[in-house]
Symmetry: C2
Subunit: 444 residues, 2 copies
């Protein structure tokens, strides 16, 4: 007897109701992304280890699950493969590998698990799904607007209405740091501090900026940017007028905000100069979906250099990753799932009271399934009807069809309406039709 029957740390078993809830969300995501013309891609669970190392920063390297080399004489103790850490690096590899088979603008979605050896916490797992949508091959800001439109449509279709799309630009951030007087050597540290604004508040960020050796005047100017009331774009334009690159990046942001007015994203998008995003590969616009009191449901941005790490020449790209786990946690807490999703009810259960009636029961199940009804067969009724009755109730069935000695003698089936608790004896030849009528009269 093995001692461990729990799943490994940070992973979960998904029992039927869990799978149904997850499948519901995934179907909505897939439906919207398909409607936007994105195409599905799937990549292997593991990659050559060198494909992943060095793409996610030091922290990422440490959190990658590594697979032992297989060897004739047993394991060498070395790792040559590693589990997928996100869906963006595999996409970049795929674009490099199949460049001649893919359309010039490749729009793909990918919904698969990724693995990170992070410390598990509430809502943070070591195996979790990402729902990614990316467009590779275009620098047009229409791509950002279209992707944000898709993400908005997904969230609205799932029932979210109170989300904000925070929008910023890596080069706006860089310019802001520069004009605030933050030395180039301190900019990366300042970004780390700024990224925590949501978690530790303005005072916390100010303290961390000070601790990182950023002067009080610079810190104050930065904090002002994050706190500026009213039109952030106008404020930033003033602040960055001395920075040509900052002004150009700001022009891109303004363009994206303008284009978003042409679709559903416009009602949600807000420029937020404090958005930093952790991953190092972003080069342009960065975005994050946040819900008040909940935090981030996903994020993304433009990364025009990552594909080049595999291909040797740069290919522009932009994408967004929705976090399935957080969405599901919030939807469950807020009661946003249609009630019957988790139940997975069957229409009817067929059972038998004795061995001689087994074939009759199988035949009835077959007939009903051929009529497209979902029908379970309870295989161990014996003489007592209580067990199949309890089982049928647990499965949410509306009808129980019983075969036994009496029914055999009469050439009949007993059809029980589990909602009204009425039951009737029906001639065998008419029984499937009688069940179909019962089901039609009490739709789910």
């Amino acid at each position: 007897m093995t001692s461990h029957t729990q799943p490994a740390r940070g992973t979960r078993d998904f029992l039927p109701a869990d799978v149904r809830r997850r499948a519901y969300v995934i179907d909505v995501v897939r439906g919207v992304y398909e409607r936007y013309g994105f195409e599905p891609l799937e990549t292997p669970a593991f990659e050559h280890i060198e494909t992943l190392l060095g793409k996610y920063g030091d922290e990422g390297n440490r959190l990658i699950f590594k697979i032992l080399e297989r060897g004739e004489g047993g394991a060498s103790g070395r790792a040559d493969l590693a589990l997928r850490y996100d869906l963006t690096v595999p996409l970049a590899r795929v674009v490099a590998q199949y460049q001649h088979d893919l359309p010039r603008v490749f729009k793909r979605y990918q919904i698969q698990p990724v693995w990170r050896a992070d410390r598990p916490a509430r809502g943070r797992f070591r195996e979790f799904y990402q729902c990614d949508v990316d467009a590779v091959g275009s620098t047009s800001p229409v791509v950002e607007a279209d992707i944000l439109g898709a993400v908005t449509d997904v969230l609205v279709a799932l029932g979210f209405d109170d989300f904000v799309i925070r929008l910023n630009h890596r080069r706006v951030l860089a310019a802001l740091l520069a004009v605030s007087g933050v030395e180039p050597g301190s900019q990366a540290g300042a970004l780390v501090a700024i990224d925590k604004l949501d978690k530790i508040g303005p005072d916390g960020v100010a303290a961390e900026l000070a601790a990182r050796g950023i002067g009080a005047a610079s810190a104050a100017r930065l904090m002002e940017a994050f706190a500026a009331p009213g039109d952030r774009l106008a404020w930033l334009e003033g602040a960055l007028e001395t920075s040509p690159d900052g002004a150009a990046a700001l022009g891109e942001l303004r363009r994206i905000v303008h284009l978003c007015q042409a679709n559903a994203a416009g009602a949600h998008v807000r420029v937020d100069a404090s958005l930093a995003r952790g991953l190092s590969y972003y080069t342009g616009a960065i975005m994050e979906v946040a819900v008040e009191g909940i935090g981030s449901l996903g994020g993304g941005g433009r990364y025009d250099g990552l594909v080049g790490m595999f291909l040797g020449r740069d290919v522009p790209a932009c994408g967004f990753s929705l976090g399935l786990e957080r969405i599901i946690v919030v939807m469950a807490e807020r009661g946003m799932f249609p009630p019957r999703i988790a139940a997975g009810a069957v229409d009817a259960v067929v059972t038998f009271m004795d061995e001689e009636s087994q074939a009759d029961a199988l035949q009835m199940a077959s007939a009903l399934r051929a009529m497209a009804h979902a029908v379970d067969l309870y295989p161990d009724a014996g003489r007592k009807i209580e067990k199949p009755l309890k089982y049928a109730a647990a499965r949410g069935a509306r009808a129980l069809i019983i075969f036994g000695e009496q029914e055999r003698a009469r050439g009949a089936a007993t059809v029980r309406n589990l909602e009204t608790r009425e039951q009737h004896s029906v001639p065998r030849a008419a029984a499937a039709a009688a069940v179909a009528r019962l089901l039609a009269a009490s739709p789910r």
Copy 2:
């Protein structure tokens, strides 16, 4: 620039057409299993290593992918986790872990990848999907008949008609070996030889039996069992009349064959005394689906002892695993996929000739998507219409909607029918409806 852009050995990237074909098959499988009342289960990609070791035999232990321990100071060189090797052992663990939450008879399906460090070959991969269906908690032969009915319905729904369900019983095999005079110590070796009948033919098996020290008389008697013409069940009944356990097991087989006549499996099921099945955990009926000239599409059987390895008390179980990869290979070779599955066509492509028309294009895409059309947005048209035309053709679109300077001046959109190559200028306010009419008139 990273040198590897190929996926790791034995794994594959699935480009959009591949994903669509796979999703088509998985949807058919899921639909049938749901109609049979099976419920979905998903388990993590990796398990505690001791959960998997010792469950699949020596060969299995060797082929398990092992994951390095994470440690503060780096990797220890030891493995503590391992990638899922099949879906049956995780099911047994789940049944033990959640015994009080699951129904007394738990019928689940599970469609997930598994990983084996096997030598890759045609149709054999290191990452591949299994589609498993199992019923846990009942010893009734109705379970075998119901599972074989489901497997039959899946294959028929996919378009297979020339398959045979080979059926045998572990205890019939054991009795056959015993009455043929094969010593208990040689029986496991004899099973290995018998399992190769498909691959190496009767002469090959006879030679291997001899090489394994099985006497000529015993070997001849065994070979006779596999070659017996006519009613195998009748022949086996004669051969096993001196073995009470063999006769009892044969009774079970006969019962399963009888019950299968009550559903679609009856037309395909054949008792085949030479079926052995590799895995060691089977205890009763074993079955395999074979297609002439192709080989096995999947197999399964009863395993009444496996759950007990986790739970400490035996729980009966029976299941069947369809191999997705082999099914897809055969369906592709035979042209069994509906032609439009792989195409994943969008209905329309929207594009723009200049920057000023970007918002118009986004708005049109939004309007069409809100009408449930699948619409792609080509983001880089520039002055030439050739690129978006080519792109729209590649996406299988039936309409291309163009916005440019002329259209803006007239308050119009240009709507091009990509099948007839006609195009018209349509007032902006009427353009979405015009596209919808065009799409309705030329359905996919």
